[in-house]
Point group: C2
Chain length 337, copies 2
């Protein structure tokens, strides 16, 4: 029998999530039932939203149960199949979780398109890119000439959202933590300006860089940066609530921005969205993003960790801001088909 290592959710975190909330166990890979597929995990996706999945709270998905394998997006290779839709050797994507092997009905898996690497499938061409694409285009509705501020700008979603805004003819300013990330935004990702929130006064820098004020604020962080951005809105601005990573590990809910009346004065709107509502529009996204990638208009960075034992610590990297671009962990390379 093949052994299957798994990281199970052992207790619910209060405050910062860490390895102590998980337990590593070894189980047998069960026999496949009818229609089932066995996927060997090659690459795991790490996303800030996973922090919400372990809270005992109703949300857009049910919480991960105690004792359950930690939920995570993943890419793997089919190593056994009772499904007509999948053959051994196929590269597939799904919510495989923190384990070596994932047994599931074929319906829960998608084939990776030809030529798409696991890294891209989980990042720029996956739900991360999809989030940036529809968050910006569908919720913010950019107009050429708009001034767009993006927080978490060197993260997986923010970096893509900012570049799409550039493609759409906007002026784009990114907020990120540290000079390396800011340099990357300017020199690699083509942002017009970058603000290092760890070393600069964000409000003052936004005022300097955006005297015309903000038509769009794409928020990945919440907290004080959201408040600052709300204070700098242009008329009829759009605030996209994509995430609020600054508060995900807080022990108590943090107070919100004290200046929501600016939404009234500037006749602006603030809107949240969840990428799963856009999964059925994946084709639109893939067509545009595929072309932009071919034309070299979008760069994408991945921070790739390794080692099954390092999985929980890799999730923490998101919350300490260590990652530049998409956070991944690689467990293996595909076997030749």
């Amino acid at each position: 029998m093949t052994k299957n290592r798994q990281w199970l959710l052992r207790k619910r975190p209060e405050g910062m999530i860490s390895q102590e909330h998980f337990e590593c166990v070894e189980t047998e890979v069960p026999e496949l039932g009818p229609g089932e597929v066995l996927m060997k995990t090659l690459c795991l996706s790490f996303d800030p939203t996973q922090r919400g999945w372990v809270n005992d709270m109703e949300s857009y998905m049910p919480p991960v149960a105690l004792g359950e394998v930690m939920r995570a997006g993943s890419v793997g290779q089919v190593v056994d199949s009772n499904s007509d839709a999948f053959r051994i050797g196929d590269l597939v994507q799904g919510l495989g979780g923190w384990q070596d092997y994932f047994v599931t009905q074929g319906a829960a898996l998608n084939q990776l398109p030809q030529g798409v690497t696991p890294e891209m499938a989980l990042g720029v061409l996956g739900t991360t890119g999809l989030t940036a694409y529809f968050g910006l285009l569908d919720i913010a509705e950019p107009i050429p000439g708009d001034t767009v501020l993006v927080s978490g700008a060197a993260g997986a979603t923010g970096s893509i959202a900012g570049q799409i805004a550039k493609i759409k003819g906007c002026k784009v300013v990114g907020i990120a933590g540290g000079p390396d990330k800011c340099r990357w935004l300017l020199e690699s990702a083509g942002f017009d300006a970058a603000i290092d929130y760890k070393h600069e006064d964000v409000e003052q820098r936004v005022q300097e860089l955006c005297p015309e004020r903000l038509n769009i604020y794409f928020d990945n962080v919440g907290g004080s940066i959201l408040e600052t951005a709300l204070g700098q809105l242009a008329m009829n601005a759009r605030v996209v609530l994509c995430g609020g990573i600054s508060g995900y590990n807080a022990l108590e809910p943090s107070p919100g921005p004290n200046n929501l009346m600016n939404l009234v004065i500037t006749r602006s709107r603030m809107e949240g969205f969840i990428v799963i509502d856009y999964l059925q529009r994946m084709a639109e996204f893939i067509e545009d993003m595929g072309q932009w990638l071919q034309e070299g208009k979008i760069v994408h960075a991945e921070d790739i960790q390794t080692g099954f034992e390092n999985i929980p610590a890799t999730l923490q990297r998101l919350f300490s801001g260590q990652n530049l671009g998409k956070q991944l962990l690689k467990l293996g390379e595909p076997e030749p088909r």
Copy 2:
């Protein structure tokens, strides 16, 4: 010469606005210049937004300057005119301010339509009604069957917004302060339910009354009630930010709602607006509202104070929640034309 009493802004309030921030003076009414009109004030409008006008802060209108007559909507009668558009005896509406006589270019005045009383022109058929109408229909976009929560529901705007939502086939719950206002909402304004925020647990009552959660929240108050409403949103909900009276007299900006992430989880939007953007669509509103009034589908209440000396205290009534319906102060009756 005719004497003109005026209430001037003498100092900017920090915290609660009161009579001490104004000074009553008596001046001469100046000679009319070309095109100018002299209006005798008959009725003053009191609106929470006036509190913002006296702050030394950029907003949707310039602040009232120190030493200037306090800005206010008003209805009056033309007593002298150098304008071809106005004749003595005409009933007109404008931003006449806290004074007996208002000298202005005719362009700053509007004729009252035949049969419209000063009270209605400043309330249900004026910018108050316009605010409720476009805030609800244009920003919230109600769908028959929607559950709509309105705060400040016994106030001028909230009471009309809730009734328009009823006309549009929604279930409407109002939040107001005290049993008298709640009774009025149920017995006169036809709300489906009322919550007395002074004596009831708002969150618990919203949960009881709206187990299907809120499709629309029409916010006139901000603060903790906004936070409570955000915690009870249905999917794709619309939060209309019309006002935030709970914070207008605060010494420091109050923290905002700590649960903005609910906008993400429920894919909801929160949007502000200012009624002056809709002034050019007044005709649409008048057509609908005129018909609803004729059909008895909208009731409207006015709280009418009197006495020039009571003007500043009447503004305070808004912030202590003493008014039911539109707060007005009457200075005189029209002379027969």
